[in-house]
């Protein structure tokens, strides 16, 4: 068994809601509310959920782009929430992020060579300019872009190519962990596959560990080893991807799987259509957060929050039905 590279324990991230003249905090958006999981070295953990479930906040809090409200983030055995700025800066060499929007995440005034080379400069990874440019050239080739692109600007590239630049930038510092936050959702279908294949190739070549955040369960299932399903700030189920697909235990996972339109007109799926919308994370429902929409909810569900625990062979879920 591989070691845990990253462990998240009881992580919480609340955003204050301020109102009035004195900007008093009147409530909190509980974007991430007490979640725990681990990512093993060399694996891809998929984090899936609908908008507002807290999946992106989780990714950003792990990188400390957002400060956690409570909990522990253990990377290579150390709780990085206690790190100061200097330590954090060193650590960023080990953890990188790829963003969703390849149009907004690249500085339009920098050449591709400088975008990719900036991190090399910051961390003094190259002896001199020549070596640095050589490294950039190599990185661009690794992601399938020719070195002739080094002097070009982001606007000269298509969405897929920009996302490749974002990948090259993340790789520049030779990281251990890459958090990919919806890396393919802004891309055209035919280009999505290119980027997914690229990420898989690079993972093999460099032994990378991925936290792959996305709303598209088919893509997550394809690329991940294990998958965690989030709903309204909580992880409701976490297990091996085949297990999740063949044997979903949580009613939310079941309805999520059944809601995906599949590219097969002959297959008429038994749909579990959920009623209503996701409630507001400012005032989440009592007990199990899914109970107002859950087709199987019973009395206990609105009173008591179900515990997130293991139901055999690494299959975690939080649901009262399973405890019966």
């Amino acid at each position: 068994m591989a070691e845990n590279l990253l462990e998240v324990k009881n992580l919480k991230k609340y955003f204050p809601v301020k109102a009035g003249v004195f900007k008093k905090t009147v409530a909190h958006v509980k974007a991430v509310d007490d979640i725990s999981f681990a990512v093993k070295e060399g694996e891809t953990l998929g984090l899936v959920g609908e908008s507002g479930c807290g999946k992106s906040t989780t990714g950003r809090t792990i990188l400390r782009l957002l400060e956690a409200t409570a909990g522990e983030i253990i990377f290579k055995g150390e709780n990085i929430l206690s790190y100061d700025r200097k330590q954090m800066r060193k650590l960023r060499k080990e953890m990188q992020i790829i963003f969703q929007d390849p149009y907004a995440s690249l500085n339009p005034r920098m050449t591709v060579g400088d975008i990719v080379g900036e991190a090399i400069d910051l961390h003094n990874l190259a002896e001199n300019k020549k070596e640095r440019n050589e490294m950039v050239r190599e990185l661009l080739e690794k992601v399938g872009l020719g070195s002739e692109y080094m002097q070009r600007y982001p606007h000269e590239f298509s969405g897929g190519q920009r996302q490749r630049i974002g990948v090259a930038r993340a790789l520049a510092v030779d990281p251990k962990l890459i958090i990919a936050d919806e890396p393919v959702s802004a891309l055209d279908v035919s280009v999505q596959a290119q980027v997914v294949n690229l990420l898989q190739d690079l993972q093999k070549e460099f032994g990378l560990t991925f936290l792959f955040i996305a709303h598209d369960l088919s893509v997550v299932k394809h690329i991940s080893d294990r998958v965690a399903v989030m709903y309204l700030g909580k992880i409701v189920e976490l297990t091996d991807k085949h297990d999740l697909y063949n044997n979903p235990k949580h009613p939310y996972t079941q309805s999520l799987l059944s809601a995906i339109p599949e590219a097969d007109p002959k297959k008429k799926k038994e749909r579990i259509i959920l009623e209503g919308d996701v409630p507001s994370p400012v005032d989440p429902p009592s007990g199990c957060r899914f109970h107002p929409r859950c087709p199987k909810a019973f009395a206990k569900c609105s009173e008591l929050e179900p515990e997130f625990k293991e139901y055999g062979d690494g299959h975690f879920a939080a649901c009262h039905l399973l405890e019966e």
Binding site: Q161, R164, V189, A193, Q200, L217, S218, A259, E262, P265
Partner: protein
């Protein structure tokens, strides 16, 4: 499918919609043909910039002019050519005989009017009824599209509703005058998957009860498989494949359609690698000579670079625009991958 033998509700023939911009001429829609029959759903699928939205805007005559212009072709609807009739008549058709719903329900609803006012506006414009009756009909429509507490919701503003609810309001508005054709342009793309399932189900059941035709425009092959009777696959302003939905998914004949289907991961099938189509869609200002897919097609050879293939009937009711579709057939029979694995190459 006997309903397909009826007369077409809409017949689009050789439609060309161009945009004249400073940099040159963008041939967004460049010779498109298709028909929509009563009671059927025509799916139009393609990636960004393929012209799928511009075709629908052309039917509604909503292409901004200048810079856009319907350059050639016919759009036959109820015996009339929509490209030729005066604007005043078009206005009677719009929202009455043909309605449209869009991707972004927030930007398509007016934020300063209540949803009731907006539905009533369409009703009062096309039917001779007073405010009171219009409001009664608006509430009835909200009930039909599954909005809880319609009497209360009718007086609320768009920002008070969730994304899924707003799309329901859009549908209520579009159906308020009992149209013969509903054009849905990526109606679920901005919605979460559980809400998408609700909206697709609603559209399917309303289609049954209203007996209307739907033109469903989307990039999502899953949505296409779910709702369509027939499908037109578009690439670079042209229809490249056109057939019924089962045939399309069973036996895609165009290399682009094949590529699209194999580039998406399937929930029930595991593959190690996706079959990615290399490159990206060419700029509409710089389309290649010959077949427009030749820059990305693994089968492209001599003729493909010189001459544009026609949309040809490859089998009964199955049209494809490719010089080499028979060769593709051979490769498929041998069970080979068409998009060779080129590793980390572009």
């Amino acid at each position: 499918m006997n309903k397909l033998s009826n007369d077409a509700l809409v017949e689009v023939k050789n439609l060309k919609t161009y945009f004249y911009i400073e940099e040159g001429v963008v041939k967004a829609v460049d010779g498109v043909d298709y028909e929509i029959y009563p009671g059927e759903t025509l799916g139009i699928v393609g990636e960004s910039g393929c012209g799928k939205s511009v075709t629908s805007l052309s039917i509604m005559r909503l292409v901004e002019s200048p810079p856009g212009k319907i350059e050639a072709g016919e759009i036959k609807f109820g015996g009339r050519d929509l490209t030729k009739i005066p604007e005043k008549e078009m206005r009677k058709i719009r929202g009455n005989d043909i309605s449209m719903i869009f991707q972004e329900p927030m930007t398509s609803l007016n934020p300063v009017y209540t949803v009731g006012d907006q539905i009533m506006e369409a009703i009062m414009l096309h039917k001779k009824v007073d405010r009171k009756e219009a409001k009664r009909q608006a509430i009835e429509m909200l009930t039909k599209v599954g909005i809880p507490l319609p009497e209360q919701r009718v007086d609320e503003y768009p920002h008070q509703l969730s994304g899924g609810m707003r799309q329901r309001v859009m549908i209520a508005m579009a159906l308020s005058c009992d149209p013969q054709l509903l054009i849905a342009d990526e109606p679920t793309t901005a919605l979460d998957v559980t809400i998408q399932a609700q909206i697709l189900e609603l559209m399917n059941s309303l289609k049954e009860s209203y007996g209307m035709s739907i033109m469903m425009i989307t990039h999502d092959l899953g949505v296409i498989a779910e709702v369509s009777d027939r499908v037109a696959v578009m690439y670079a302003g042209k229809v490249v494949e056109y057939t019924d939905v089962d045939t399309l998914f069973d036996d895609p004949k165009h290399p682009y359609t094949w590529g699209l289907m194999n580039s998406i991961p399937k929930l029930d099938k595991d593959v190690d690698r996706l079959e990615a189509i290399p490159g990206s869609v060419p700029s509409p200002l710089d389309f290649p000579e010959g077949c427009k897919f030749n820059t990305r097609c693994p089968l492209a050879e001599g003729k493909c670079y010189e001459q544009e293939p026609p949309l040809e009937e490859a089998a009964a009711g199955h049209k494809v625009r490719c010089w080499r579709y028979q060769d593709l057939e051979e490769i498929k029979k041998r069970g080979e991958r068409i998009y060779a694995d080129r590793g980390v190459q572009n």
